[in-house]
């Protein structure tokens, strides 16, 4: 039976491999960073199991590991590894292989989708092939393995070179890969330390009591504002949800959770288009395109972001209280 834990072990193995390759290349900070992260991934199930059993020591060690990662991150210089193939070689290969190059790339979403849709019905000898929790993600992990196999067949290159290429890309991404996880953890800490309740208290003090529309507007605009501050809708979501979404809109006014969650997140995405804090999307492209103003991309996005926000709020108002 395929479980999501196998995917985490696969990631752990890839991270440890990346760490060891960096150790061999004498990039000590990179090596330490990926090895600590690999240990967190490999030990994650043990941490959660021990915590559930009442022993928080492994979780505390995990928290210490997160702090170590934070201290290591500023030491990771983003340096591009030399390309493993020349532009001329890649062009020749592209001409030779043509559209077959698209096949393994498309296998990733295709296999994921198939497992998500039909994985529940697959069984071998009476045992379900995929465990029900996180089946889609298990499918994604499987799809990546299938795609790597297919890519190695199409490009007539051994698979381990694919893993080496993957390591090159992972090193190029560096600490940025970690931000989504850390922002999710930050959201948890914010929730536990009452940031959400404090914001909710401020919001309720300001809100006209009992108005569903006012609460909805506060939630949507709060998502935008918080995303602008944090640079990421993922960090804003748990805070605004715990503060306004869950207690006021869902519990008190009976809002539909799926619609509120989905569209609330999209309001946050409108905020992402407006903020320099979302550096990867707004400042990096401006630099890449050699614009004279670092805020050129944001300026081009303001009109669209506000119009999309307005239409999303209207759609939410129409559907969420049905």
């Amino acid at each position: 039976m395929l479980r999501i834990e196998y995917a985490y072990w696969l990631i752990a193995a890839f991270l440890v491999y990346t760490g060891l390759r960096n150790l061999r290349d004498r990039h000590r900070w990179h090596a330490a960073f990926w090895l600590v992260l690999g240990a967190l991934f490999g030990g994650g199930d043990a941490i959660l199991a021990q915590s559930a059993a009442g022993n928080t020591l492994p979780a505390q060690l995990g928290g210490g590991g997160v702090i170590v990662l934070a201290l290591l991150a500023p030491r990771l210089q983003r340096k591009a590894h030399p390309e493993s193939s020349s532009a001329e070689q890649r062009l020749q290969s592209a001409i030779r292989l043509g559209h077959t190059l698209f096949v393994p790339a498309l296998l990733i979403p295709l296999v994921t989708l198939l497992v998500a849709l039909f994985g529940g019905w697959l069984a071998i000898g009476g045992h379900a092939l995929f465990a029900a929790p996180q089946m889609t993600l298990t499918g994604l992990a499987l799809a990546c393995v299938v795609a790597l196999f297919a890519a190695s067949r199409v490009a007539r290159t051994p698979m381990h070179e694919g893993v080496a290429e993957g390591r090159r890309l992972l090193d190029a991404i560096g600490w940025a890969a970690l931000l989504p996880l850390l922002l999710a953890a930050l959201g948890q800490v914010f929730t536990h330390s009452g940031v959400g309740t404090a914001i909710a208290a401020i919001a309720t003090a300001w809100l006209p009591g009992g108005s569903a529309l006012a609460a909805l507007l506060a939630f949507a605009l709060g998502m935008v504002l918080f995303t602008v501050i944090m640079g990421n809708a993922f960090a804003a979501f748990p805070v605004m949800m715990a503060g306004i979404g869950l207690p006021l809109l869902i519990r008190q006014h009976g809002a539909d959770p799926a619609i509120l969650g989905s569209m609330g997140m999209l309001c946050g995405y409108c905020g992402t288009l407006l903020t320099p804090m979302a550096a990867d999307f707004n400042l990096v492209p401006a630099a890449l395109l050699e614009l004279r103003s670092p805020y050129g991309v944001i300026r081009a996005q303001v009109g669209s972001a506000l119009a999309i926000l307005a239409s999303t709020i209207v759609l939410m108002w129409l559907f969420v209280f049905r």
Partner: protein
Amino acid sequence: MNYWPLLGVAVIVVGFVLRFNPVLVVVTAALGSGLLAGLSVPALLALLGNSFVASRMLLIFVLTLPAIGLLERAGLREHAQRWMARLQGLTLARLLTGYLLLRQLLAMLGLTGVAGPAQTVRPLLAPMAEAAAEKILPTLDDADRDELRAIAAATDNIGRFFGEDVFIALGAVLLIQAFYAQHGIALSPLAIAIWALPTAIAAFAIQSLRVWLYQRRLRQRAAGDRARAVD
């Protein structure tokens, strides 16, 4: 009510404005916020460790890197560029709208990494957009070129953002599902993802309209130039 944990939010703002490493800023904000809320150090460490490993699913995208890396080495990007360049008869608005649609559809399939500012906008979309605009108005100045490139990057971002929420296996949908699961509301990823569709359609219509309006402004300026030339 204890308002001190809100200082964690202030740490984020100040840290980003002063351009410290974001990873360090986020962890510092978490520690500060937790301590100000009166959590003990062991409890805070355990909370940090538990919530970090509980969201391991957010790193699952790294498993795509070996296959994508191998394909890029075999010329995937070069092939995509050559294929795009062969497509003819494109006006500026059609080019950008077509790219927007493709980007949204790819993101809906979870293929957010296939395109992007470095992969497609700089080498492909921005030069093609400038070429298409030059066909309308041959006298583009530097400010126009900056604006065109910015519009190309904005189109890429909007296509990505308002497509990826429809994909069931990555990022946003899973975060929403995980949040509700923690609070006792069970939802399937598909039930959440489907509600990103109306906004995806609105985003496509809005950005297409803005691109078309920009093209119309270029045409009007070109007509003005021609009228002056006749005088």
